[in-house]
């Protein structure tokens, strides 16, 4: 668990703080996304967790202990770190890059090799093909995969990720996000994730912290609640006028409570249960139908426009 306690940061020679009295908790195993426009202090906040930046006021606790309890370098070896510009070591092979922290921790060679190969597999790069290459030989997307693998190398319980999928094209980016959501489902790290993209925040976060210029925390809540009940004008405008649609994209059709089809439902278009409700809505509008059939566990159920409407007005719905 990570806990911010009244954390502020003012750079010397300036009057206005970049992070202003920040207090919140990131529960164990959850992804907390810090999101906001540039100048909102999100990256500064993240970098204070592993003490790349020291706060002017307040403190950050990790599992109940102040993060100043050990030296900065010791602390950083226990916290995974991945950044948008990746920062792979150009003069070291992919395997050596991934092995950075395990080497610092003096793991034995066999263990390092095993770990590196396992991680390359995990991020979808075949170890035999990539182990001995240099970063310059890889595409941007592949380099970001290596960057994430390197951050996970010593199996740190906490990871800091600053727009880790920011430097690639939108299609690759979405794929990397999907893969990472899947990986995180297994590894359950406590993650502080920084982005300026609200859609990425909604997709990746268990909790979202929305920050405003000057480092003020506007709202800290689950994506559903932020979309359903924006705490301020700023949050409402930041999440966008399409927040109801965004909320529908958090839910899949197969997770909806739907009535069974009466009769054979013949003539109604079919919709896949794997679609998000938002995409289902889009398909139904596209085919000009009020009702469609969802095939689920061999059962046929009915999805209707009014069911979707009801869902979008249901303000306090817990996360599905």
């Amino acid at each position: 668990m990570i806990e911010f306690r009244g954390v502020s940061k003012t750079y010397p020679g300036t009057e206005k703080p970049v992070v202003n009295d920040l207090s919140f908790e990131v529960p164990e195993g959850e992804v907390c996304v810090l999101v906001g426009p540039s100048g909102c202090g999100k990256t500064t906040s993240m970098r204070m967790v592993n003490r790349l930046i020291d706060p002017t006021q307040g403190e950050i606790l990790i599992d109940g202990q102040s993060n100043t309890a050990m030296s900065g370098t010791q602390l950083r070896r226990k916290i995974g770190y991945a950044i948008q510009q990746i920062g792979l070591f150009p003069h070291r092979t992919i395997a050596d890059n991934v092995a950075t922290v395990p080497s610092l921790l003096e793991w034995d060679r066999g263990r390092i090799r095993e770990r590196v190969d396992g991680l390359l597999d995990l991020v979808g790069l075949s170890p035999d093909d990539y182990r001995d290459r240099y970063p310059a030989e890889l595409s941007g997307g592949q380099q970001q995969r290596v960057g994430v693998a390197r951050a996970m190398a010593a199996d740190p319980p906490i990871m800091l990720m600053d727009e880790p999928f920011g430097a690639v094209d939108p299609i690759t980016r979405e794929r990397l996000q999907d893969e990472f959501v899947k990986i995180q489902g297994d590894i359950k790290k406590t993650i502080v994730f920084v982005t300026h993209d609200i859609d990425e925040a909604i997709k990746m976060g268990d909790k979202i912290a929305i920050l405003r210029q000057g480092g003020f925390l506007e709202q800290y809540d689950s994506p559903e609640n932020i979309l359903a009940n924006p705490a301020s004008e700023f949050v409402a405008s930041f999440v966008g006028a399409d927040r109801i649609l965004k909320r529908l994209s958090l839910l899949r059709v197969r997770e909806m409570e739907l009535e069974p089809v009466n009769g054979d439902g013949g003539g109604l278009p079919a919709i896949s249960g794997d679609l998000t409700v938002r995409d289902a809505l889009s398909e139904m509008m596209g085919s000009g139908t009020e009702r469609a059939v969802v095939e689920r566990d061999g059962e046929r159920r009915l999805i209707t426009m009014s069911a979707i409407e009801e869902l979008s007005q249901d303000r306090e719905r817990p996360r599905g």
Partner: protein
């Protein structure tokens, strides 16, 4: 003009017999002496330039004064520099004065390249290194210097070639080396000696240049791209 005329009247341009007779006794030691003068100067200059360059790269305000002073040294004509140095107590006439002068000439190029090499290290690479828990020392020795090394070697290459040339003049103040053969040849009106010294000095510069270039290339195995 008179001297050139004299030279031509004393015999052929190259007497191969003289070369083979004096090869072991005179030519080889002169070549060795020259290599020693140059290598020692570059080594000492590097030992000064590395820490100074690292310092100037860390504290950019130090860069201007450092390059100003070393730039000033670089502009002093070599004969004037030798003249000044032999009057300095503790240096005096001989190889020591030559080495001091050669070191002084190398500093500017070497420091500049150390700084340029370190400045060219991508900041995100250093940030990632710090974020993963490398100490400042580890970052310097295992990230920054290895990445800067090709640029530093490029500086060593320029300094070495320059030094091999200037070292010949060092014979004027009894520094020894191939310059001595050239000066002796001029004094005796014996072109074989002049040409042998000159050709060897040039060859030495070329060999140093080519082999350091090869070192420079070998130091960036990562630059080969075989995009996936």
């Amino acid at each position: 003009m008179g001297r050139m005329h004299l030279l031509q009247t004393y015999g052929p341009l190259i007497e191969w017999d003289w070369i083979s007779e004096n090869f072991v006794e005179d030519i080889l030691p002169a070549l060795q002496g020259h290599i020693f003068l140059s290598a020692a100067s570059v080594a000492i200059a590097l030992a000064i330039s590395l820490p100074l360059g690292i310092f100037a790269a860390r504290y950019p305000t130090a860069y201007a004064p450092v390059t100003f002073v070393t730039g000033l040294l670089y502009t002093i004509p070599s004969l004037a520099m030798f003249g000044i140095l032999i009057t300095v107590p503790g240096i005096g006439i001989g190889p020591r004065a030559v080495i001091v002068a050669l070191v002084a000439y190398s500093l500017l190029v070497l420091i500049r390249n150390v700084v340029a090499g370190l400045d060219a290290v991508p900041p995100e690479t250093v940030d990632a290194a710090r974020g993963m828990g490398l100490t400042s020392r580890q970052i310097l020795f295992s990230v920054e210097l290895p990445l800067a090394l090709p640029v530093i070697v490029a500086g060593i290459r320029i300094a070495t070639v320059t030094i091999i040339g200037i070292a010949t003049i060092g014979a004027y103040i009894a520094g020894g080396g191939l310059g001595k053969m050239i000066f002796d040849g001029i004094n005796r009106g014996f072109p074989t000696m002049i040409i042998t010294g000159a050709v060897l000095a040039t060859a030495l510069a070329i060999v140093a240049d080519v082999s350091l270039l090869a070192v420079e290339r070998r130091l960036r195995p990562w630059a080969r791209t075989r995009r996936a």
